[in-house]
C-alpha cells in the first residue's frame, strides 16, 4: 500500500489522525495533514482504509498495488 495526500484539498479535519495516529498527523500552523508513513506496515492497512473513506475532503489516496 502506498499513500498520497492532497494538501490543497485537505480541510484539516483530523479524522485521519484520530483513526490512524501512527500514519497521519497535522501541521501545528494550520491543521493540514502530515503523512508520517507513506508505506505503512500491513497491520495499519485497515485503519488507513477507514481514514481514506471517512476523510471529509477526500484528500487521502491509496495505491493498493
Amino acid at each position: 500500500m502506498k499513500i498520497t495526500v492532497d494538501e490543497e484539498k485537505c480541510c484539516g479535519a483530523g479524522q485521519c489522525v484520530l483513526i490512524a495516529p501512527e500514519v497521519f498527523d497535522q501541521r501545528d500552523e494550520d491543521g493540514i495533514v502530515v503523512l508520517l508513513d507513506a508505506e505503512p506496515a500491513a497491520e495499519h492497512h485497515g485503519l488507513v482504509r477507514e481514514s481514506a473513506s471517512v476523510c471529509p475532503a477526500a484528500a487521502i489516496h491509496l495505491d493498493e498495488a
Binding site: 484539498k9 480541510c11 484539516g12 479535519a13 483530523g14 479524522q15 489522525v17 484520530l18 483513526i19 497535522q26 501541521r27 501545528d28 500552523e29 494550520d30 491543521g31 493540514i32 477507514e50 473513506s53 471517512v54 471529509p56 475532503a57 477526500a58
Partner: protein
C-alpha cells in the same frame, strides 16, 4: 440561521415535488416522510423551490460526498441561480445581507482566510481544552441544580456552554463574558426582532474589533491574538478579523446548543442507550455515541446549498451551469447503502461516515470542538443528574420545524 416559511404552494408543475414540503406529523427525530420521499426516484432529482426555481436536490450519500469536494460548485449566494428562501429583491430592499466571512466565499480566498485560523482546531489543541470544557460544564450543572426545579435545559446548559467555550477560544476576558453571552443569545434568539438581532450583531462586531486592537498591542496565545498578527502583517483588516470572530460564534452557538438539547431528549426516549452513555468507563463508547447522535439527528436542515459553475454529470443526470444544487445531509445520513437499518438509533454502530458537518472545503471548522463539548456534556449530565426527566410529553414539546438549525425551542426538565 433564522426561521423561514416553507415554499409557497403556488405554480406547481406536475411530476416535480416541492422543496421544502409542508411537514406532516411523524417522528420528530427523523426527516419528514415528504423529505424522505425525495430519495425514492434516484439520488439526484429536480424539485420546485422558493417561487418558480427548479434546482436539483441530491439525496444519496456517495453523490453528496463527491459534490461537496467539487470546486465547480459555488457557495457564493450572489450567484443568480443560488437556491435560497430569501428573495434577492427582498433582501436588497432591506439592505445588505450580513457579511459571513469565509463561509460565503469560494476558494482560493476562502481557504486563504480559513487557514489563518484552522491551526486552532487541530485534534491536539482541541483535546487540550477538555479539562476546561469539563470545568465549564460542571459549573453550569452546579448552577442549574442550585436554581429552580423544573428548569429549561436550553437556557441553563445548551446555549451557555458553546458560548463560554468560544469566548475562551477567542480570548474574551472573563469580565466581558456576560456582555458576550447576552449579545450572542440575542443574535440566535427566535423571539428577538430583526432590529434587535442587528444591534447585537453590530455590538459584537464592534466589541471584537476593539478587542483585536488590544490583542495586537498585547498578544496572548488565543485565536484573536493570532488574527491580530495577520492584521498587523497587512493580510487582513481589523473588521475582517472581527467578522471571522462573529462567524465562529454564530456557527458554533445554535448548532451545538440544539445538538445538546435534542440529543438529551432523544436519549431520554432510549433509557437503555442512555444508561450505556452514563455508565461506561470507556471514552470510545461515548465518542461512538456522539457520532451516532450527530448522524441520527442531522440538525443542519435545508441542505448545503450551492450553484453549479459548469455542467456537472452525476448519477446519470446533468446539472447545468448556473443551476442551483441542494445537498440534503439528513438524507445522506439515512442512506441505507451506507448505514444498515438507518432509522434505528444504535449508539454502538460505526457512524463515522456521516455528513452532519458537511464535507469538502467548507467542512465544519469547529467540528472537533463541537464533538468535544458533546462528549463531555452528555455523560456529565446523566451522571450528575441520574433522575433527569422531561417535564413535558413528547407531543407537546416544541420542535423547530421551520428553522435551518433544527432543534428545540425549550426543554423543560426536572430531577
Amino acid at each position: 440561521m433564522t426561521t423561514y416559511p416553507a415554499a409557497p404552494d403556488t405554480s406547481r408543475t406536475p411530476g416535480i415535488p416541492d422543496f421544502p414540503a409542508p411537514r406532516s406529523s411523524a417522528c420528530p427525530f427523523a426527516p419528514s416522510p415528504e423529505l424522505s420521499a425525495l430519495a425514492e426516484h434516484g439520488p439526484v432529482r429536480r424539485v420546485r423551490s422558493w417561487g418558480d426555481s427548479t434546482p436539483w436536490v441530491v439525496t444519496g450519500h456517495a453523490e453528496q460526498k463527491v459534490l461537496l469536494s467539487d470546486p465547480r460548485l459555488s457557495v457564493d449566494f450572489a450567484n443568480p441561480g443560488f437556491p435560497s428562501p430569501i428573495d434577492p429583491r427582498h433582501s436588497r430592499a432591506h439592505g445588505e445581507r450580513p457579511d459571513l466571512s469565509f463561509v460565503g466565499m469560494d476558494d482560493p480566498e476562502h481557504t486563504r482566510l480559513r487557514r489563518m485560523i484552522s491551526g486552532t482546531f487541530t485534534i491536539k489543541r482541541v483535546e487540550a481544552m477538555r479539562p476546561a470544557v469539563q470545568r465549564m460544564t460542571d459549573r453550569l450543572v452546579d448552577e442549574m441544580l442550585a436554581g429552580p426545579n423544573p428548569a429549561d435545559l436550553v437556557q441553563a446548559l445548551a446555549l451557555p456552554l458553546p458560548s463560554l467555550v468560544i469566548s475562551e477560544l477567542l480570548g474574551v476576558p472573563y469580565d466581558d463574558h456576560e456582555f458576550f453571552q447576552t449579545n450572542s443569545k440575542t443574535l440566535v434568539s427566535a423571539v428577538a426582532t430583526g432590529e434587535e438581532r442587528g444591534r447585537a450583531h453590530k455590538a459584537l462586531g464592534d466589541y471584537l474589533d476593539d478587542l483585536i486592537g488590544e490583542k495586537i498591542a498585547e498578544p496572548g496565545d488565543d485565536l484573536l491574538s493570532k488574527l491580530g498578527r495577520h492584521v498587523r502583517d497587512g493580510e487582513l483588516t481589523r473588521r475582517e478579523a472581527a467578522t471571522m470572530g462573529v462567524l465562529l460564534l454564530l456557527g458554533g452557538h445554535e448548532t451545538t446548543a440544539n445538538m445538546i438539547s435534542l440529543g438529551t431528549l432523544l436519549l431520554l426516549q432510549h433509557p437503555g442507550q442512555l444508561a450505556v452513555v452514563r455508565d461506561t468507563d470507556d471514552p470510545r463508547v461515548v465518542v461512538g455515541a456522539v457520532e451516532e447522535l450527530l448522524r441520527y439527528l442531522s440538525i443542519v436542515h435545508l441542505g448545503r446549498r450551492r450553484t453549479a459553475l459548469a455542467d456537472i454529470e452525476i448519477a446519470g443526470q446533468t446539472i447545468g451551469a448556473g443551476e442551483g444544487v441542494i445537498l440534503l445531509g439528513e438524507l445522506a445520513n439515512r442512506d441505507p447503502l451506507v448505514f444498515e437499518d438507518p432509522d434505528r438509533l444504535d449508539i454502538t454502530r460505526n457512524a463515522r461516515q456521516h455528513q452532519a458537518f458537511g464535507g469538502g472545503t467548507h467542512h465544519c471548522i469547529g467540528q472537533p470542538l463541537a464533538r468535544l463539548e458533546l462528549q463531555v456534556l452528555y455523560p456529565t449530565l446523566f451522571r450528575r443528574i441520574p433522575t433527569l426527566r422531561a417535564e413535558v410529553p413528547l407531543e407537546e414539546t416544541r420542535f423547530k420545524y421551520d428553522a435551518v438549525i433544527y432543534g428545540l425551542h425549550e426543554l423543560p426538565v426536572s430531577w
